[in-house]
């Protein structure tokens, strides 16, 4: 139990630290949101417009930084994230709501698929160490995972969308359609999401294969595996329940963290495939010095990572009795 208490303490201290950092960092950036607006419009707005926008943004407030900090903490706790400057006057919550489902769907699914696939393949190649499978798979994926994923995305777009025309040129669903619950819409989402998801899976699966294979090899040499073999258990059971279950432990925290980072989206994939996710929104918030939006997104990312790590710790405690006893 004390193990969990310690984990929770750590969780809250980290949370407070990130909240504070989150407040300070955007404010030490140079410039102001109205100037950033000029950048975004490439000078196609007059200074008068900028002045009007400054008034509308309420940039001329005289609140002290400490007052702002207290208000920020209060707003964060009450879930009042303010108004986005980039998408003025839309509330930050609405901006995030627009991109979140797509990011969770695309990057989340791709991460889970990559982890599941990578772990399984890693397990198999370690199980048949030196086999054809083991000789080909790890090296191939190490090479592929070294590709920048936007580059691979561009290549796929060029080959399968632009030249062959099998897949659409971007967007999350057909341009003229609107979000609805129907099979045809679900089909569109899958069709539009296929190439971006494939890009992410292919470039990230290599890492999982490799780490799983390596820990699996060490585990296979353990006495309890030999014992299980000697007892005549079925090979599948040994692979999954004896070797696999132990080998997966170090990977679990890594997986939890990458799940947490799902919220930050995949900026370059979103740009290449013109996909409406949060990654690009985050980039825009930074470009536009949109404090409210930026802070909320960073907050969500840190919160998601912290929660995921906490969940992984709990899961580790369940899977591995040793962690519980050591506490």
């Amino acid at each position: 139990m004390s193990y969990l208490v310690r984990r929770l303490e750590f969780f809250f201290i980290t949370l407070w630290a990130t909240l504070t950092m989150n407040f300070i960092l955007p404010r030490i950036m140079p410039g102001n949101p109205a100037e950033a607006m000029l950048v975004r419009y490439h000078g196609r707005v007059s200074p008068q417009t900028i002045k009007a926008i400054e008034v509308a943004f309420g940039l001329n407030s005289n609140e002290s930084i400490f007052q702002q900090y207290l208000e920020y903490l209060r707003n964060t706790v009450t879930g009042n994230f303010g108004t986005s400057v980039t998408f003025f006057p839309v509330p930050v919550g609405d901006v995030i709501k627009q991109g979140l489902p797509w990011t969770l769907g695309l990057v989340g699914m791709a991460t889970i698929i990559a982890f599941a696939l990578g772990t399984l393949l890693g397990m198999l190649s370690a199980w048949r160490r030196g086999g054809i499978f083991d000789a080909i798979l790890p090296p191939v994926f190490i090479v592929i995972s070294a590709f920048p994923y936007f580059w691979l995305g561009l290549l796929f777009l060029l080959a399968f969308a632009l030249t062959l025309g099998w897949f659409p040129l971007g967007f999350a669903y057909d341009l003229t359609d609107s979000i609805n619950l129907s099979w045809s819409f679900a089909g569109q989402v899958l069709w539009h999401g296929f190439l971006p998801a494939l890009t992410i899976v292919i470039t990230s699966v290599g890492g999982w294969i490799l780490t799983m294979r390596n820990t699996m090899i060490t585990t296979l040499a353990e006495d309890y595996v030999k014992m299980a073999r000697a007892k005549g258990l079925s090979p599948v059971r040994i692979m999954l329940m004896y070797a696999g279950r132990n080998a997966i432990l170090p990977n679990l925290t890594g997986f939890a963290m990458s799940l947490g980072f799902v919220i930050s989206g995949a900026i370059l994939v979103e740009i290449v495939f013109n996909y409406p996710g949060l990654g690009f929104t985050l980039l825009q918030a930074v470009h536009s010095e949109d404090y409210a939006l930026m802070q909320t997104l960073f907050l969500m990312i840190t919160l998601a990572v912290l929660l995921a790590v906490l969940a992984a710790d709990v899961l580790t405690a369940i899977l591995d009795p040793r962690t519980r006893e050591q506490g």
Binding site: S46, I53, N274
Partner: protein
Amino acid sequence: MRGHRLFGIGLGAILLLASCGGSTGNNTGTQKSVGGVLTIDNESGALWQCDFNPYNGSVNGQSFGILYEPLVYDNLLNDQKTNWLASGYKWSADSKTLTFTIRSGVKWSDGQDFSADDVVFSFNLLKQFPAADLQSDWSVLSSVTKQGSDQVVMTFQQAAVPNFYQIAGQTAIVPQHIWSAFKDPASQPVKQPVGTGPFTMSACTGQNIAYKRNPSYWQKGLPYIDTVNYPAFLDNDPANAFLAAGQAQWGGQFIPNIDTYYVGKDPHNNHYWFPPIDNINVWLNTTVAPLDNKAVRQAMAYGIDRGAVSQKGEFGYEPAGNQTGVLSPTFDSWIDKGQADKYGYKLDVTKAQGLLQSAGFSKGTDGIYKDASGKRLSFSIINIAGYTDWVASVQVIQDNLKQVGIEIKPVNLEATSYFDKLFTGNFQLAYGSVNTSPGPSPYYELRNSLHSATTASIGQTAAGDYGRYKNPTLDGLFDQFGQTTDQAKQHNLIKQVEAIILEDVPIIPVTEGVAWYQYSTKDFAGWPTKDNPFAAPAPWNLPDWEVTLLHVYKKS
């Protein structure tokens, strides 16, 4: 709009490998019938928020023109004025009162009648809420009242003839019966827009806005197009791919290697035209010695090969500028050829060095000129690191000036800190444009670049005139321009302005920024062209895009 600068050249080059999909065009159809779905391709840099408020500067690009209209359409490229929601207007003799006659028979898209009351309401709304007054109409207006049943009288604090462009041409008129309920018109989200425009908003998602033809539009029989789709593109590259694949017909952003990448896909139907709309200059901070010395400024103007900058820095897409400061060919009728030729500013090393020598500078052993005290002619020039074309342009300028004997050190900054330095005068030289919306004659850009009323002391934000140039004679010429509606007089005044810019070189125009515009004649005709510039052609030219959409029709 972000597409103004040449972004993402590297990524685009990869897509360039795309193979062609040839097709044959048919240009014979001249029957203009109603119908067709036209798709706009303009990098918006964000998903749509589905807000159609013309008084909100961050979203008015999706509503002003096509949904809400101005009183008079004033063509950005040639100042041709067409009566729009006003059927006529008249200036008083002292140019301080402007009377509009409001068009009758116009209906709002919800069926209610449009009237002079809506116009009076709209302008007074902007007075009440300065945040909504995007064009600063009330910096010159003093009252807007109704007269009789269909006239609107505007009085001005001073003669303000050029402000006609902002007031009549750039201010959207909104319906009183809906907007009178809004508490804060600048930030009011407008989800169901009601306007007088040729289209109505029929559906909006983050990805796309669909506009449908307004069957009761006041210009009978118009528009021809049935549906306009406006997808949201996050970046240039996907937008360019979409356009090149023929999925959109009207583009408005930079395309690297456009002749192969876009025109080559369908040479018969894919076209582009890039009319210049502003100058990209070397700004000289005239408060910094020795940039306060005219001879040094002139020497620099003779030390830059503008053609080379255009070719090497801008791929030839943005043409070379000229030292009169007047855009060519856009405003050719305003250029004083004779004077420009007399000075003949072009790369002329001998002449530049002669100017420096007669001003008391001597060449040092390192090839750079020095003043009597031994101070070298060496300047830093600020620039935006993300604008790869500008960075390349400054490299050419750097090489040019080195031949003359002037050292330039580029400082490539992140955009926000660049603007901060530019606006506050915290630079020696700066590369860039004046960051105000362009106007329909050279007056607008030149006044904003050089009138001392737009400047501020060092450390304060200047709205224009970043070089802190002060010349009472020049200011007087601009002020006189503002008081006259006489075309001949206006031309004469601008010629005097050019004379000062040529002689005094307060700024060095190097290249000309353009309106990026691509169009396909495969299915649609009636586009604005170089020979028929009835509207500024980019989809982000407001409200000109409405006029383009009124002319374009589907070929049968």
